[in-house]
Subunit: 300 residues, 2 copies
Amino acid sequence: MNSTAMSAPSTTHEHKEEEAPNAVWLNGEPLGLDARSLALDRGLHFGDGLFETIACRHGHPRFLADHLARLELGCERLRIEFHAFEALRREIAQLASGAERALLKVLVTRGQATARGYAPRGDERASRIVLRYGWPLEDPRHAADGVAVRIADLVLGENPRLAGLKHLNRLELVLARSELRGSPFLEALLLSSSGRLVSGTMTNVFVVLGTEIRTPRLDRCGVAGVMRRVVMRAAAEEGLAVEEAPLTRADLDAAREIFLTNARIGIWPVCAVQSRTLAPGPITRRLQARIQPWLEGERA
Amino acid sequence: MNSTAMSAPSTTHEHKEEEAPNAVWLNGEPLGLDARSLALDRGLHFGDGLFETIACRHGHPRFLADHLARLELGCERLRIEFHAFEALRREIAQLASGAERALLKVLVTRGQATARGYAPRGDERASRIVLRYGWPLEDPRHAADGVAVRIADLVLGENPRLAGLKHLNRLELVLARSELRGSPFLEALLLSSSGRLVSGTMTNVFVVLGTEIRTPRLDRCGVAGVMRRVVMRAAAEEGLAVEEAPLTRADLDAAREIFLTNARIGIWPVCAVQSRTLAPGPITRRLQARIQPWLEGERA
């Protein structure tokens, strides 16, 4: 092995990449300081970060403990040194307070790039961005009558290192969601490159097979949703077991009930998968009834 | 199929997601207008964009036509409506001028989110961000003696829809590049989930098998580098054929020569793949000699 090429040059090389940019323009204009820090953020450059979408009712962020637990787990897995959970919690409380209905989106990134190139140097300071959006009433027919879904043309790549995380690399979902434009379908179900059923574009999916409730095991791709976890808790309280399992399209075809979950919508029954129709079933209804008070904010 | 759930609700739903946020905080502080537009950028939220890293010598951006052609192709494939190529070209020229050595990083994103959720609405206005960095002299030993590489532990997911593009979803490369911290290796070679050889973390890879030059076909993942294209042109001028082919780790083991390319470094011979050593070979040297004047900026 050539030791010349492997020791000293490495240090030199790392050193070279440390320089900050000496010009940053957005749409032709030099940026101010705040904007400059965002223009250098590794979240923008690489999608090097995580996010949460938190539904707030009656001034309170719903399922906050679950959101923060997932965020913390994501930071651990990506080795993002984020320690401002208390500050973040205060900001969430402040932005939620007084809003009858609001959606908060929280982004936590590895922060401003302190060097050019993909590798973190280890001295980055994580950034948090909190955005508050209005949240008009949901259409009650989605939860009552169900929604029709299609199978997405887009097939998800598989990477166990990123599986389960709500990270900022979301181009696949942008493309999958784009397929729905102008279609009557509210959601699309996604398969992965090895043929596994993963989730919807913005929801997790559960199927009822016989008397078994199953949801895709998210060890290769997909986002482990907060409402997915809440629904598994609700099922346990109802004495129903939910198995996380490798599922395929065949399981969808065999399912007696299918339902979708996310933190904003709660549970939507699926009333059709492309041309196959289903009725919202008894297990879906039991779980909807069980979580309804939690959605109303009577229990966080 | 339940038509109630499939028609009117869809419209209502899309309408709901149109609202702009009524608060945007970065690390606890409300943001000014410039920074606010960046904090809402789909590049940050989803990695919904593309980038180029352009090496500039003697005041001129090197291989600019190739960079802009790739950027244009990427916009087409992601359906990003970016039409400010002339403005971008002027900004690149202005930032390059007068710099003996500089690196320009250009990001083009789908722009500010005009709605919540993954789906573009179609009325986004693409953003361009241009950053100029210093570019210290490269260590001449890398091109002369070669560099040692390892095989990354991280395995790339495969998605043909994104393959070849230099898009902003780069978490896999952040993780792969992180593996090299504290190691003597300057680069790691990446395999994909189906066992294909793809590229390095910041380079493309070529192998010489017998008298054949091959480089991985990038139809499942990987970035089709500008220098990869330049080197294929150089090979053609030398009367050498380069085949884009599905390659595996076995091809690496069988290769008589291996070399790496990127727009900044040109060509680096590989002098070791983990414990196996190689000498920089005659084909690598011929191609290095052929592109050398182009790297010096005598031909763009």
